[in-house]
């Protein structure tokens, strides 16, 4: 395999690239939705992790008991 196979671009212009030979809707619909759901997964996970910092009612109760 020649290295230029991987580094040479297949496209003559940006509009060529965006048009995807007339299949833009399908190609960008695939890559776009994949990126979107992956970002959503990471965002919802970090939100779940952040919510650990909110004290749970159960823990509060114990802390109150200890305090009293």
């Amino acid at each position: 395999m020649k290295s230029n196979m991987i580094w040479n671009l297949n496209w003559a212009s940006v509009s060529d690239f965006l048009a995807m030979g007339g299949y833009g809707l399908y190609v960008w619909g695939s890559f776009g939705v994949t990126a979107l759901v992956m970002l959503l997964e990471m965002w919802s996970l970090s939100a779940r992790r952040r919510s650990l910092r909110e004290p749970s009612p159960y823990v509060n109760e114990i802390e109150l008991e200890n305090f009293e």
Partner: protein, 252 residues
């Protein structure tokens, strides 16, 4: 005595605290590899790979479709394996790992189905056909959703782990059905493009792009599952001193 409390070296990382810390150490490496491989894979798949002689540019969808479909099956097997370990050895950490893998597996299955539909419309003329490959992959999505729903429906965590593990193990039978469906039935879906026993039926740049994207999806799946595992371990071990200390450090 649970497996997690044994002193054997093998079970060292079965203790939730150790596993949480190990996952935290491994996470940045897998995350960095996922980002680097995704950028390289997108460059090759969308930028460098030549136009396909038969399909034109729409074939580029396979650079995410095939890796996602592979991961949907691999993650299911891993999830069922760890769910089974959790069931047989009563190992809490293994059950947590199975639960951490399930949403990412479901996501990969959704991506495989979604990109397949977007490829099928211009290529076959239909978004969806009730073909053996497509139908068994849809059943895989329902298995993931069933596993997660069953787990969420049972309040007691360990009982939920056991019940969901049974469902996961029964569902394993679907994975070889997906994999061999293109051979066993005369399906519309094409056969495997990459096979260990013979030369691949595609150009080298396309093959390299697909393998790099497959590695990127592996790294993404491992990184996200490790992150979710850490959150699940902290949620489940809230009553322990170490977990409360970790959460306190997050607050600081």
């Amino acid at each position: 005595m649970t497996a997690s409390s044994r002193k054997t070296n093998w079970f060292k990382y079965a203790a939730p605290q150790r596993l949480h810390s190990l996952a935290g150490t491994a996470l940045p490496w897998f995350g960095a590899l996922a980002v680097a491989l995704t950028l390289l894979g997108l460059w090759i798949g969308l930028g460098a790979a030549p136009t396909d002689a038969q399909q034109g540019e729409v074939y580029r969808i396979i650079f995410i479709h095939v890796p996602a479909a592979w991961m949907s099956m691999v993650i299911y097997l891993a999830m069922a394996f760890w769910a089974g370990v959790g069931l047989v050895f009563n190992a809490r950490s293994a059950s947590a790992l199975a639960l951490a893998l399930a949403p990412t597996g479901a996501l990969m299955t959704f991506i495989a189905l979604w990109t397949g539909a977007l490829w099928g419309k211009p290529t076959w003329g239909a978004w969806w056909v009730w073909d053996a490959r497509l139908t068994s992959e849809l059943i895989l999505l329902f298995l993931y959703i069933g596993y997660l729903s069953l787990h969420a429906a049972i309040d007691d965590t360990r009982r939920a782990d056991r019940a969901a593990a049974l469902l996961a193990l029964v569902g394993v039978v679907n994975v070889p059905i997906i994999y061999f469906s293109v051979k066993w039935w005369n399906t519309l879906h094409q056969g495997a493009s990459v096979n260990l026993l013979r030369a691949p039926s595609m150009a080298t740049t396309m093959l390299v792009g697909m393998l790099v994207m497959a590695l990127a999806f592996w790294m993404y799946s491992i990184a996200v599952a490790l992150l979710r595992l850490r959150v699940i371990l902290l949620e489940r071990e809230q009553h322990t001193a170490w977990a409360r200390q970790v959460v306190d450090e997050m607050r600081a």
